[in-house]
């Protein structure tokens, strides 16, 4: 996937997708070489070699520990993030559509978003215990804020000229929201989802460390504390992979939803 979408003028062509992929593979190779070099020079055991890490991954997989932890983490992450999406989008949209409601509650949402959410963990544990409910709640609280605030901003950024045009055609308020206001908010919404997904993943690990130790976060603590660095690296890489897959999928979605921005004749 490319970075910020280039605005290609008629005369300029983007570097071929093949070239970019090749360059990226080359860069990845460089990183692995650097890693191997670091593993060889740093005193033994501190940084595992790539080969040792692959070996550890194979061991964890054959024991089923990696799959088990991954499953636990994904359930926590999916539940929390899913709830954040289901609550955040309608709430943010409602705040933007009903101006008085938005103006009334937005300062409180901003205040809550500015409070470090880890501060709530003891309270959540007291209320919900140490199980999946508490974990999903920690993920939810982290992910829901950027989703609410970006949806809100997107609906507020509505194009008044387009709305007047829609009114002139006799469109109902509902039709205007569905066809003009909400699609206009989509780019903001996707940014909110990406931020929410990232914070949600961080909070998944935090939740697994602070409540009943489980999942990838639990393994991270276990291997980190016992200096089993090869296993520890496997977990870090697994977490990185989840983050990359989720945010890249959202970027693909964003690209699909904003094809109309791309210039160039059909």
């Amino acid at each position: 996937m490319t970075g910020p979408r280039p605005q290609n003028g008629p005369g300029r062509r983007p570097a071929g997708a093949g070239t970019v992929t090749l360059m990226r593979l080359a860069f990845l190779l460089c990183l692995i070489l650097l890693w191997a070099l670091a593993a060889a020079t740093v005193p033994r055991g501190m940084i595992p070699s790539p080969a040792a890490t692959v070996e550890a991954a194979r061991r964890l997989l054959s024991e089923g520990r990696l799959q088990g932890a991954l499953g636990q983490s994904l359930i926590t992450y999916g539940t929390g993030l899913g709830a954040a999406i289901l609550v955040g989008i309608p709430l943010g949209a409602l705040m933007g559509m009903v101006r008085l409601f938005g103006r009334t509650v937005d300062v409180f949402v901003f205040a809550l978003a500015a409070t470090p959410r880890v501060a709530f963990i003891p309270l959540i544990i007291v209320l919900l215990g140490l199980g999946i409910e508490a974990k999903a709640m920690i993920v939810f609280l982290g992910a829901v804020m950027p989703i609410i605030l970006n949806t809100y901003a997107g609906v507020q950024a509505r194009d008044e000229e387009l709305i007047e045009m829609a009114r002139s055609t006799g469109a109902s308020a509902t039709r205007i929201q569905i066809h003009v206001v909400l699609p206009g908010a989509l780019p903001f919404l996707v940014v909110g989802l990406r931020l929410g997904a990232t914070i949600g993943l961080i909070n998944t690990v935090v939740a697994e460390l602070y409540t009943a130790v489980s999942g990838l976060g639990g393994l991270l603590a276990l291997y980190g504390n016992t200096f089993r660095m090869a296993e520890y690296f496997v977990i870090v890489l697994a977490l990185a992979a989840i983050g990359v897959i989720v945010t890249e999928s959202l970027r693909l979605l964003e690209g699909r939803l904003s094809r109309w921005r791309l210039p160039g004749r059909p």
Partner: protein
């Protein structure tokens, strides 16, 4: 016979001490299927006048009526806006169909296709506005307004952003379309030539607050695209008269950049 009527309409924008009258006691009436052009300098309230007739804005004082009733947005008039106002994430066809909220989906689509064809955009039905040239966007905006088959067509400097050639072609195109399917047209411009070519009647407006200061019948025979009316002596005479009036208004308007120059 009277289709649209404004009686002593006044309207101001802003609150308190910032309150600025935009229109002051404007009265006018449009006969059915008449083309009336409103000519006036920038900021004299021409767009505001169209919004009043569209029913998008209520007057502070006076009365606006279409067939003796207050105008209802979407039911009486369709508007072509100055900056086109196309929905960027909708295709050309969807943009036109969007303006037909009262029709079932399939019917709206079929109607959209018919009007895209009318303005020569059939091949671009699936294109997004960003993929169209300025002239094509203008035709799309026109198709969207025409597709509603309105009794009243409100046009706000619709050709102002086109180059001289496209502009002339679009003027002819619009006159041809009006010949096929007549409508009452209220057309805003600040171009004297455009006014003389399009209008059955010209209303001259003064700046801040806007008032109708002169009314002028344009007697040239139709269709006007056959032969060049600009070659007629009367054309030159009317043009000179309108141009002088406009220039005087701008020079005597304290709010204008050209105030007091000679």
């Amino acid at each position: 016979m009277t289709h649209v009527r404004l009686e002593q309409v006044s309207l101001a924008f802003g609150q308190g001490t910032d309150r600025m009258p935009a229109l002051e006691r404007v009265s006018l009436s449009l006969r059915r299927n008449e083309v009336v052009v409103v000519l006036g300098p920038s900021g004299c309230g021409k767009t505001t006048l169209l919004r009043l007739v569209a029913g998008l804005l209520p007057p502070d004082e006076g009365r606006v009526s279409v067939d003796d009733r207050p105008p209802r947005p979407g039911a009486d008039a369709a508007m072509v806006f100055q900056s086109f106002r196309l929905i960027p994430w909708k295709s050309a066809r969807e943009n036109v169909a969007f303006a037909l909220p009262h029709l079932p989906r399939a019917e709206a689509r079929a109607r959209a296709d018919a009007y895209l064809d009318l303005v020569g955009l059939s091949r671009f039905a699936k294109s997004w506005p960003a993929q169209l040239s300025g002239g094509m966007r203008q035709r799309l905006a026109l198709a969207r307004a025409l597709a509603a088959e309105p009794g009243i067509l409100l046009m706000d400097e619709p050709f102002a952003s086109l180059d001289a050639q496209s502009r002339e072609l679009m003027q002819i195109e619009l006159m041809r379309l009006m010949e096929r399917r007549p409508a009452t047209v209220l057309f805003v411009t600040h171009s004297v030539d455009e006014a003389l070519i399009m209008a059955d009647r010209i209303l001259l407006m003064s700046p801040r607050p806007g008032r109708v200061v002169e009314e002028l019948e344009v007697p040239f025979p139709r269709p006007r695209w056959e032969g060049d009316i600009r070659a007629l002596p009367l054309y030159a005479e009317l043009r000179r008269h309108l141009w002088d009036r406009l220039r005087d208004m701008v020079l005597n308007d304290p709010g204008s950049d050209f105030h007091g120059r000679r």
